[in-house]
Subunit: 170 residues, 2 copies
């Protein structure tokens, strides 16, 4: 698998969740809340949200009554930005980003393919804003409700890593 890491996946869901709560002047959302709704551990969310804060995609409010909010409106945040923050870049291999990484570039056909594939992927992710993702989600939920949910909503979640482990823990 060409792995999109959990950071990227959880982080995207975190941001969609924040987008869902985003309204003018709405109170900050606490991580416990997101943790419950998305079924991701608070501790891990804390780690994931740090780079998002540094990148100024989210704002934090400390102390009682605090929490997190999007730093900008959902329509002003692109999926690509989120992934670049959390995955380092949308790139598939280091040697595309980092010209010092590899001196084989001149004669490496693979290099050209990975570079172009990375661009294709980035362009795809660049299409969507958080607002778009939110709309997709609402639509899907409505559809699921309308023709009855064939697979009733379980507690496991998309992109979640801690299911199906040797250790039954958690």
């Amino acid at each position: 698998m060409i792995k999109l890491s959990t950071k990227g996946r959880y982080g995207t869901r975190l941001m969609i969740n924040l987008a869902g709560h985003f309204k003018a002047g709405q109170d900050a959302v606490i991580l416990k809340n997101i943790s419950d709704e998305e079924d991701i551990s608070i501790r891990y969310l804390e780690q994931i949200i740090i780079p998002l804060k540094i990148a100024k995609l989210v704002k934090s409010i400390r102390g009682a009554g605090g929490g997190y909010t999007l730093a900008r409106s959902p329509s002003k945040i692109r999926l690509c930005e989120i992934l670049e923050v959390l995955e380092g870049s949308c790139c598939l291999v280091e040697c595309v980003d980092d010209s010092d990484f590899c001196r084989r570039t001149d004669s490496c056909a693979a290099h050209e393919i990975w570079a172009e594939a990375s661009r294709v992927l980035k362009d795809y992710f660049d299409q969507f804003t958080l607002q778009d993702l939110l709309s997709i989600q609402e639509k899907k939920k409505a559809q699921a409700r309308s023709h009855g949910s064939l697979r009733p909503a379980g507690r496991t979640s998309c992109g979640q890593a801690h299911r199906r482990r040797a250790s039954g823990a958690h």
Copy 2:
């Protein structure tokens, strides 16, 4: 980074290398040879080539004078096949391939995006055969020769993991 693993990267270069040596009736190529040319350890190449053999993309010939050859002509092997063998699939997340993986699918916008992005990526990789990659490589080499190589060919290679390590070992 949305990581294309070393298996996929090294395996692709391995296959391009085999394609380069592929001519009707040409002798099998030994791993030592590929190891020297691509600067990848023999031990690791051995691991990588096993699934390629099982998938019948390469043939092995044992004993003295033996080695490996492509099982089919370079124009009959698609990059996508190689990556699917080595990466498991061209998929970005498990929940797209494995419907049992996650029950959030119905209401998960992210799921839809990852699934579609996976398809985009697969379609891209599906365009190229080993013959195409070989042509690209020859062209690049010719270009590098014609206008003088600005960055002289080093010994490090694209997608190689054992450079820039804390332990200088290798």
